[in-house]
Amino acid sequence: MIISTGSPIAVSAQSLIKTVTARSGSLTILSGLDLKIKSGESVAIIGTSGSGKSTLLGILAGLDQPTQGEVALAGNRIDHLDEDARARVRADHTGFVFQSFHLLPNLTALENVMLPLELAGKESPQTHARTLLERVGLSQRLTHYPRQLSGGEQQRVAIARAFAGQPDILFADEPTGNLDEKTGESIINLLFEVNRENKTTLVLVTHDLQLARRCQRVLKLTQGRLEEEVEHSGAAK
């Protein structure tokens, strides 16, 4: 049984190590990484390609397990849990936005947003999903399939879906990576707006420094450890 304690710390990691074994030998991706993210805080994790950003996001969100170290989500230790138990924690506390949207191609925009609500057995998923899609400006696109939507529209659906379960923590992996600059800008504005309205903790992984600087804190992943970036504008806009 996992009990959420309503901790002021939304995400924490301690002495996190992740090594992978490849044919050429073992490779250390994270080496004794420590991290604390407060509830309601927005944090960007930046780094070069291959620095391990996505690996770190996977471990923090409970999609993957560390080789060593402790990870807690909303006060729940998840590093020692099996996949199904971690899934329960995710269901209760997290939402995701991905670079490649990850909409289910055979579901309409509305059905994609309804999906997490249905899986969780929530009441009247359709009404809730409709409201969310209206919020992201897609009230005219409810019955469209992903292939009938533009990239920006697909990401809006993904944002609506991410907030459907009213998560405490939103993990976003390069949310503008597949979008042109203008569309990316509007998507980020939307993401931050909705995030603010829902008072959600935001963990954003990106290689885009400008985007990162819209978060309250920017952490840089180098050689398997995080360093606080001091110079940035500081507040989410």
Binding site: S54, D84, R90, F96, P105, N106, E118, L119, A120
Partner: protein, 828 residues
């Protein structure tokens, strides 16, 4: 559970709407409709074959008894929704002027026969015709040979018991007389309403009562269940199929063949389901990863997807059964000219089975690919290359084979056949897996030694990296070809066997009761009239009285006590040569001059429990004769050649009173010669087998047709499966092709590369399919159909070529789409 069922339903609706399900649904629909069609068609055909046997018997069921049926049984019969007719047979003496003759009298009710038809002529030996009539009151109909014996003509009178009758017609065929030699006296038929007036039947008279019953299948089943418990030991219930040895083996063969067809059809449908559910599962990897990300539990998702498939199976079953029904109705309509005029309606069981087949096929063939979904990790949302390992071929096919074994065993009731085919399929899968592993390993070694041309490199690399996929495709191709080839091969053997069974000029007349002194003149008569006859067989009649020194009726079990052979005189012959070596199934034939030995027919072993080494004693014309069983023969009763249950050495029987038996072929136009024959040899009894032979011939022709129709349906289904197998493998090829073209590859290079790969896979599948087919056909021919087996050399040449061409062609048709489309469209 109800929540996940509801989600399953929603997923089903959404997947259906987005066009995701059609391939799987089509495969399932094919599984259900083909198996339903075959089940219904074979059920109807079997019923109709049963009905033809019934025509020969005059009824669907016959209750025989030595006395009138008990009041209780009679009332129960009257209360059932079936038709009934009564027939009474007894030996009697008939007088016409000074002439007296022993006849086999038969009193019939006016609705006799219930099945089949009688044939009669206005004059003896004149052309006959089908008749719906029966003798009116005060009339008798006589067998043609009885006219010269009694010296009567149509219109004359004769006396039977205390009554006088007018001779009205000549009977040429009674359906229920069959080809047995039991009632050798000539037939006299009259109306059962005249029976009491003759005063012949007294308590204790030797009479054979037969109550003929006819009705629809379900009525008969109900009737049988009701009546059987009421029957006394002396009242026996015969089913149409039990009655006739000569027709039965053909019915059994056809049923087995239709069973084989069902197995092949289900195998094809299974392959289609396995392939499309694999595709169904693979297209869900991303969605599952996203849902896992959202916190969905592994079991929850499995429940949803398995629920979705089961709901789909149930939904497909209904239209599938309907389409199956339509299909078989269409086949029946198409074949209207050649099928029996009236095909009985099938029961509901084939439809239920057809529907269930869909569900079981889906579980058996579709579950294993679906179980891979359990292994989808949520991390796939970040790292798309994290694909679950391919379902092991054995987990896919192991489950499939097991479910098929159970389903088919139940469906066809033929364990040996099912087991043989499953073993064959298993062997084929093992060979393919081994070949893929060893073959690709050696290709891999070569590749590392020297690079292959670019056009082959991609294909070879893909085969290497996706061994599971390669094996699955090869297995699908091979099993499809195997199913088709096997049915084709067994059909050829079966047709040959049927052709041999009734060759041209099969003897159509039996002359019996030829006296020893008449043997030579009789042979001369045949010769002078250019009639082809068999050699003459001596026939001695005797009663089996003891088995191993014990009275025969005590030596056998209670059940065996009722067998005919203990209640009548048996026909025996002598011969120092077996008719053919092949018919001896146990023991050895004696040497000329040996005595005290006997050879018996196999069915005696089954019916009386007598075996090699047992001593049988017979009473022949007041002389007791004892002989030891030294050989057992198996007789082809359907050959219409003289056959005997008991054969003894010449020295044992010679000197005992014997008559002779001969069979010969007489063309229909030469029938008038029979008048002369009967006049010259008045004591000879002549049995006309023409009508029976043509009945059997018609049945065989229909069986051939049914077999051909099934083969055609199977070949079409097989082609569909092949096309969908190729189609399913196109996904990756399409992308790869587009990539090559975007890199500047020419259309020609692309065509050579991909068509060549399909071509080679086709040829390889063809070779393995021939091997599997031959393995199965040895088993089927020897163990199931009891036909001789010979390697089908032609298949070794044709099948690999045909399969290479077919697969190559389907691949080429698919690839053309890649070439036509701009690469950008595919890559996007």
């Amino acid at each position: 559970m109800s929540r996940s069922l509801m989600l399953s339903w929603r997923f089903l609706v959404r997947d259906w709407r987005s066009g995701e399900l059609w391939l799987l649904m089509l495969s399932l629909l094919m599984a259900v409709s083909v198996s339903t069609a075959i089940a219904i068609f074979s059920d109807r055909l079997q019923l109709s074959l049963g009905r033809q046997v019934a025509e020969v018997m005059g009824a669907d069921l016959v209750i025989s008894s030595p006395t009138k049926l008990s009041e209780e049984v009679s009332q129960t019969i009257a209360s059932q929704p079936v038709e009934q007719a009564t027939v009474l047979e007894f030996p009697s003496v008939v007088m016409a002027g000074d002439q007296m003759q022993l006849v086999s009298a038969k009193a019939v009710s006016s609705n006799y026969p219930l099945r089949g038809q009688m044939r009669a002529a206005d004059q003896p030996f004149a052309p006959d015709e089908v008749t719906e009539d029966t003798p009116d009151e005060g009339e008798v109909w006589l067998e043609p040979r009885l006219f010269p014996l009694l010296g009567v003509e149509v219109g004359d009178t004769l006396i039977l018991g205390e009554s006088e009758f007018k001779v009205a017609r000549a009977i040429t065929l009674e359906t229920d007389r069959g080809g047995g030699f039991y009632s050798l006296s000539p037939r006299l038929m009259f109306n059962i309403n005249d029976l009491d007036a003759t005063g012949i039947i007294q308590p204790g008279s030797r009479v054979h009562w037969k109550t003929l019953i006819a009705g629809e299948e379900h009525q008969l089943t109900g009737f049988k269940n009701k009546i059987e418990p009421l029957l006394s030991d002396s009242e026996k219930l015969n089913l149409a199929e039990d009655d006739r040895e000569d027709l039965r083996s053909s019915v059994v063969l056809l049923r087995q063949f239709l069973g084989l067809g069902s197995i092949a059809a289900m195998l094809l449908a299974g392959i289609a389901v396995a392939m499309s559910s694999r595709r169904f599962a693979e297209r869900r990897f991303d969605g599952i990863a996203v849902m896992r990300c959202m916190g969905a539990q592994q079991n929850q998702l499995m429940q949803i997807f398995i629920g979705e498939l089961l709901l789909m199976a149930i939904l497909v079953a209904l239209p599938g059964v309907f389409i199956g029904w339509l299909l078989q109705t269409g086949v029946v309509k198409l074949l209207a000219g050649v099928l029996p005029v009236w095909l009985p309606e099938a029961g509901s069981m084939p439809m239920v089975l057809g529907g269930l087949t869909g569900i079981i096929t889906l579980i058996g063939f579709g579950l294993a690919p679906l179980l891979r979904l359990r292994e989808v990790t949520p991390l796939r949302v970040l790292r798309r290359e994290l694909t679950p390992s391919a379902a092991g071929v054995w987990s896919v096919y192991g489950l499939s084979l097991l479910s098929m074994l159970l389903l088919l065993w139940y469906h066809t009731g033929q364990f040996l056949m099912t087991a043989g085919i499953i073993l064959g399929v298993g062997t084929v899968i093992s060979i393919i897996m081994l070949a893929v592993k060893v073959g690709l390993a050696s290709v891999h070694r070569r590749l590392s030694e020297q690079p292959v041309p670019m056009v082959w490199r991609l294909g070879v690399k893909r085969l290497l990296q996706e061994q599971g996929q390669t094996s699955a495709q090869l297995i699908a191709f091979t099993l499809t070809f195997m199913a088709m080839a096997l049915v084709l091969l067994v059909r050829t053997d079966l047709l040959q066997r049927w052709q041999q069974q009734l060759p041209e000029k099969t003897p159509n007349y039996f002359a019996i009761n030829i006296q020893s002194a008449e043997v030579e003149p009789f042979q001369n008569f045949l010769q002078s009239n250019d009639i082809e006859g068999t050699s003459l067989y001596p026939m001695v009649r005797g009663r089996l009285i003891e088995i191993n020194g014990q009275p025969a009726k005590e030596a056998v079990s209670e059940k065996q006590r009722d067998h005919n052979s203990l209640h009548r005189e048996l026909n025996m012959t002598w011969s120092d040569q077996p008719v053919s070596e092949a018919e001896i199934v146990a023991g050895d034939w004696w040497q000329p001059g040996d005595t005290g030995e006997i050879s018996i027919e196999k069915s005696i072993v089954e019916h009386l429990g007598v075996n090699l080494g047992d001593e049988l004693s017979f009473m022949i014309a007041g002389t007791k004769l004892t002989a030891e069983v030294t050989s057992i023969r198996e007789v082809q009763w359907e050959s219409f050649q003289p056959n005997f249950y008991m054969v003894l050495p010449e020295t044992s029987l010679k000197g005992l009173p014997a008559t002779w038996l001969n069979s010969f072929y007489l063309p229909p136009d030469d029938r008038l010669v029979l008048n002369e024959l009967v006049r010259q040899f008045p004591t000879i009894s002549l049995l006309d087998m023409d009508a029976v032979i043509s009945q059997v011939q018609m049945m065989l022709e229909q069986s051939v047709l049914a077999v051909e129709a099934m083969l055609l349906a199977l070949l079409l289904a097989g082609l569909l499966v092949l096309a969908s197998a190729v189609e399913a493998s196109l996904d990756t090829r399409l992308r790869e092709g587009a990539l090559i073209r975007s890199l500047g590859g020419s259309r020609k290079q692309l065509v050579i590369m991909q068509t060549g790969e399909f071509f080679i896979m086709g040829a390889f599948s063809g070779v393995i399919a021939v091997l599997g087919t031959e393995l199965c056909s040895v088993w089927l021919n020897v163990q199931v159909f009891e036909l001789s087996w010979q390697p089908a050399i032609w298949l070794w040449f044709t099948l690999p070529i045909i399969s290479a061409l077919l697969i190559g062609l389907s691949g080429w048709l698919g690839i053309r789409r890649v070439i036509r489309q701009p690469p950008g469209a595919v890559l996007k």
